[in-house]
């Protein structure tokens, strides 16, 4: 019985989604990018069917100095941009999305890894 309790305790500490943290989970981000069909507008590496030409290609997004060509890179800002770009730049063509906060964090993590 004690062994079982120990096993459960170890598992609870070690087995529960180690990649998930405040910084976002890039592999979950990839799933979210496909689900929200970001590729309809953007070229995104390793995303199925992401060949859009409406928005900028995101091929090496992790190396971009400015977000949307005008905002210094900042994780919170990128997450806000993904969910509600017009609130940052009223003239953008990128609409508000129904991406959740959690998904935005994961998508941002995926984009930052593109170098």
């Amino acid at each position: 019985m004690r062994f079982l309790a120990l096993f459960v305790a170890v598992c609870a500490a070690g087995c529960s989604a180690p990649e998930r943290n405040a910084a976002g989970d890039a592999s979950a981000g990839r799933v979210a990018i496909e689900r929200h069909q970001c590729g309809a507008c953007h070229v995104i590496p390793d995303i199925v069917d992401a060949r859009g030409d409406v928005g900028p290609p995101l091929a090496d997004y992790g190396r971009r100095v400015y977000l949307a060509g005008k905002f210094p890179q900042d994780p919170a800002l990128l997450e806000r941009w993904i969910r509600d770009a017009p609130s940052l730049e009223p003239r953008t063509a990128m609409p508000r999305t129904d991406v959740t906060e959690r998904e935005a964090r994961d998508i941002a993590a995926y984009l930052r890894r593109l170098r």
Binding site: Q37, D53, P90, A93, M94, T97
Partner: protein, 313 residues
């Protein structure tokens, strides 16, 4: 109605959800099992012939029995069975069809005739049908040969220029079933999908009534601006929005486009974002389709037009 993941909808003839689909599945099962059994039997005879000690057999009896009598009996039985299934699936065009579906390169024009109001109901790439009642569908094409195939509900029926073919959809259970053009029809054949949504009768009636209504004048000034921008770029040359001056017929009716689950015949899930993507990038998203990519809108204007279309529920 939200459709979370269109790509995972059932689209299999092995998972029938209607009586005709079940008849076809049954015919399939008889063939898979029957041919499997005959194959095993023949292989067993071959092995026996090779491995058993030599002895005299009655060759004439084997040739006549196994080579003539057996195949004639099996094929005759199968022929009669297939005739029976074909007869059960065929439709006598005794009355007006409930739904008219016209294949276009590369989408489905859908019209309903039995709206209680008598108003025209037109939409695209999506059919609602009531559960538990047969619905007759007239199938036509405006251009090349297409084939209407919703495997869970019925066999495939070709749409042939100059002809009207008929099909009965009779869903046993509620659900959303994916269909697909099953006759190669050009560059975007693979992206010519449709969805059949089977709902209880009262829901079906309510849906039909909503679809029959014209588009409402938007309350929101931004949405009105989106509508005006849409007319400014002459979207009405190809599209109809009942309740506005847009009355084009080259492209899908957009009166309630916001209520539909997909864009571009299953190409994209429907949302404000994908609507904007489609307007500005339809040629990169579905190359060769009749709609040009509209690149004249400013970013803000594009969002307003997309928001207006999404509001047409």
């Amino acid at each position: 109605m939200m459709h979370a993941d269109l790509s995972r909808l059932p689209q299999s003839a092995l998972d029938p959800a209607s009586d005709p689909a079940w008849l076809i599945h049954q015919l399939g099962l008889v063939l898979y099992i029957g041919t499997g059994a005959i194959f095993v039997l023949v292989m067993a005879l071959v092995l026996y012939g090779v491995l058993s000690p030599p002895r005299r057999v009655d060759a004439r009896a084997w040739v006549i029995g196994g080579g003539i009598v057996f195949p004639v009996a099996v094929l005759t039985a199968l022929f009669l069975y297939a005739l029976h299934v074909g007869h059960a699936l065929s439709v006598a065009p005794a009355r007006a069809a409930d739904i008219e579906v016209t294949g276009r390169m590369w989408w489905w024009d859908v019209r309903y005739n039995d709206a209680p109001s008598g108003a025209a109901v037109a939409l695209a790439n999506e059919l609602y049908i009531p559960v538990g009642r047969p619905v007759e569908v007239a199938l036509r094409t405006r251009d090349v040969i297409h084939s209407f195939w919703v495997p869970a509900l019925a066999g495939k029926v070709d749409m042939i220029p100059g002809r009207t073919n008929r099909l009965v959809l009779h869903a046993r259970e509620a659900g959303t079933f994916r269909g697909q053009c099953a006759e190669y029809c050009g560059m975007q054949h693979a992206w010519m999908a449709l969805h059949v949504v089977a709902v209880p009768e009262n829901e079906y009636r309510a849906w039909l009534e909503r679809q029959a209504a014209p588009a409402r004048e938007p309350d929101d000034a931004r949405l009105r601006r989106g509508r005006d921008l849409l007319l400014r770029e002459n979207c009405d040359t190809c599209h109809t929005i009942r309740g506005t001056r847009a009355a084009g017929t080259l492209g899908p009716d957009l009166t309630h486009v916001g209520s539909r689950s997909s864009l571009g015949a299953g190409r994209l899930d429907n949302s404000v974002a994908t609507l904007a993507a489609w307007i500005a990038g339809s040629q990169s998203i579905k190359p060769g389709n009749l709609m040009p990519s509209y690149t004249a809108y400013s970013g803000e204007e594009l969002r307003l037009v997309a928001a207006y279309l999404a509001s047409l529920k």
